[in-house]
Symmetry: C2
Subunit: 387 residues, 2 copies
Amino acid sequence: MRFIHTADWHLGRLFFGRHLTDDQAHVLDELVRLAKDACAEAVVIAGDIYDRAVPPVEAVELFDDTLSRLLLEEKLKVIYIAGNHDSAARLGFGSRLLAGGGVFVAGQLQADAPPIILDDAHGKVAFSLLPYMEPATVRFAYGEAAQELMGFDEATSFTVARAAALVPERCRSVAVAHAFIAGGASSDSERPLSVGGSDSVSPACFAPFSYTALGHLHAPQRAGAENIRYSGSLMKYSFSEAGQRKGVTIVDLAADGTVSVEEVPLAAPHDLAVVRGTLEEILGDRERFPKSEDYIAVELMDEGPVLDANGKLRAVYPNLLQVTRPGLMEQAGILREQGREKLGRPDDVLFSEFFADMTGKKLDEAQEKALHEALAELLREEREAKI
Amino acid sequence: MRFIHTADWHLGRLFFGRHLTDDQAHVLDELVRLAKDACAEAVVIAGDIYDRAVPPVEAVELFDDTLSRLLLEEKLKVIYIAGNHDSAARLGFGSRLLAGGGVFVAGQLQADAPPIILDDAHGKVAFSLLPYMEPATVRFAYGEAAQELMGFDEATSFTVARAAALVPERCRSVAVAHAFIAGGASSDSERPLSVGGSDSVSPACFAPFSYTALGHLHAPQRAGAENIRYSGSLMKYSFSEAGQRKGVTIVDLAADGTVSVEEVPLAAPHDLAVVRGTLEEILGDRERFPKSEDYIAVELMDEGPVLDANGKLRAVYPNLLQVTRPGLMEQAGILREQGREKLGRPDDVLFSEFFADMTGKKLDEAQEKALHEALAELLREEREAKI
């Protein structure tokens, strides 16, 4: 059996105030074509379909459209589970009704839900659906048997073991889960599962399965074993992911249960890139800094003040999203010292320096005269106000 | 063909701060059993499934559960459309996928969507689904052909005519619509479709259909013809509906397209009632005012002040939701007059009267002394503050 493993679509995500729906629609269109061209039998989405519990209408429509195309046009099965960003109950709407049509959804965690059984030429494959397993959710779902479970590792290991026990004997099996496997490489866009505590779980519990399709971490990676993997997110959702490949994992499950995987890239209409240089370098050097429609974060290395950096940079990067000033940060220590010293200097000297910083020019004679008159006026008003 | 016509479920509704989900679950359970016992072939829900665009999770779960029971356990078809309370796009999620399983949903209005065709022993029946037809929505859906349409009557008549034209010749037909038919009797719990303008439409446009299943008005009623009907809402959603019957309409569609209807009541676990009397009468007269677990609005006829009416009334009506004071209102004119006169009287007289009103007793000697001391103190402070 060949299936597509994908995860972390985060439909409805706002990225620096921008809706990414059009970009996501483009990548999902690629995904549908890839699934068709690869002759996959199913698409498995390992959680975080949506970016939030109540996604915007456009995200709901995009998911509906993608599902409908995969099922009705490409005649694929689709399996999806809730991640920590999804509302489990909302995502699970219609799950019993949709199952008849080949859509298998696990929204809220159900104790001992039987695996989904799909067939291929070599027999049955059991898919165990393990939506986001927060310890409290596991305790609620399993009742007394789970009351002693503390922390993500215990809760997940318990739930996965119960699911594994329900896989028919000698049946090939796939676990679909949304979890943070210990040792995984994270990015800036995954919402931590636990604040202060440890949210990571050992991959050992997934050993009984032929393959484990994971969601949560946004970089594609193995998680403790070759057959326990993150597909990574659909797109780059933070600048910390600028260097990551994004795409899906095509999984081939052989008759004997061995798997082979291929990571296939999906290109977004706008890539994400971090650009580093001084304003002068970036504006002047088209060879080192070619124009780009990508989503850009600029690390401006200038040490002094710069005027309207964003406006100027947009000429090169129309989709500029962020400008940071590491150059200024490096100078922060020095500036702090200078600041203390400066406070003791007269107003006209301070203003002259500011003017030179901002314009690159010295005050001319007329300007200097105007400055002194203005200062004299201000001082007189101040004196009068005190009386 | 026999089907159940129902509408205006308003799942997720808050009623005086109370979630009605448990009550609604109870009534929907009755509805499922009724559909089964009546050997209906389909359930038609004419809009306002939810009370708001983003319903609470419990409402989503209840709707999912009810749908799943009707489809999977009772093997019925279900047809539903968006009303003015629903989010058309959210309600429409999965519509293409669900159709294969016998659930037919119209969320957003689609131009010239073909009718749903169901079969019975006598041939085909076409169901034209007409979700809430706001004029702007009609203009958007139908483009150029609809640009001149103004107001609900024009927009609805246009859309219904287009839908009627798509019904195959000599095919029996049912229109399912959410609209305000001119002359209908409204209640306090329907959200007006139009503010300031006219939101009512003539029933004439529905004449081509064998039957029209309407939603929006909460009282069951015919709308211009015997075969154009409101089923009314699932439950009483305002005290203005206290006297209305609530239930569903069972529709029998004969081979020749004639219809016969039966309105069947559904009982909610708590009825709604308005109780009118003085506090003394209500608290003292168990024969006229028997104890009740219903949701109660009391119209308190006392003309003077009463102490802790809500607390006292809860002993008789644990689900007391509202206390109004028409007795006080009737006295308002007199009180206003008295108020003007009272303002001229000395503070100690005013306080003595207030004390008597609140406690039913006169000030005793010690209390009178304390009052005068307090007043003298206050007056002295006031004088000193002015200096």
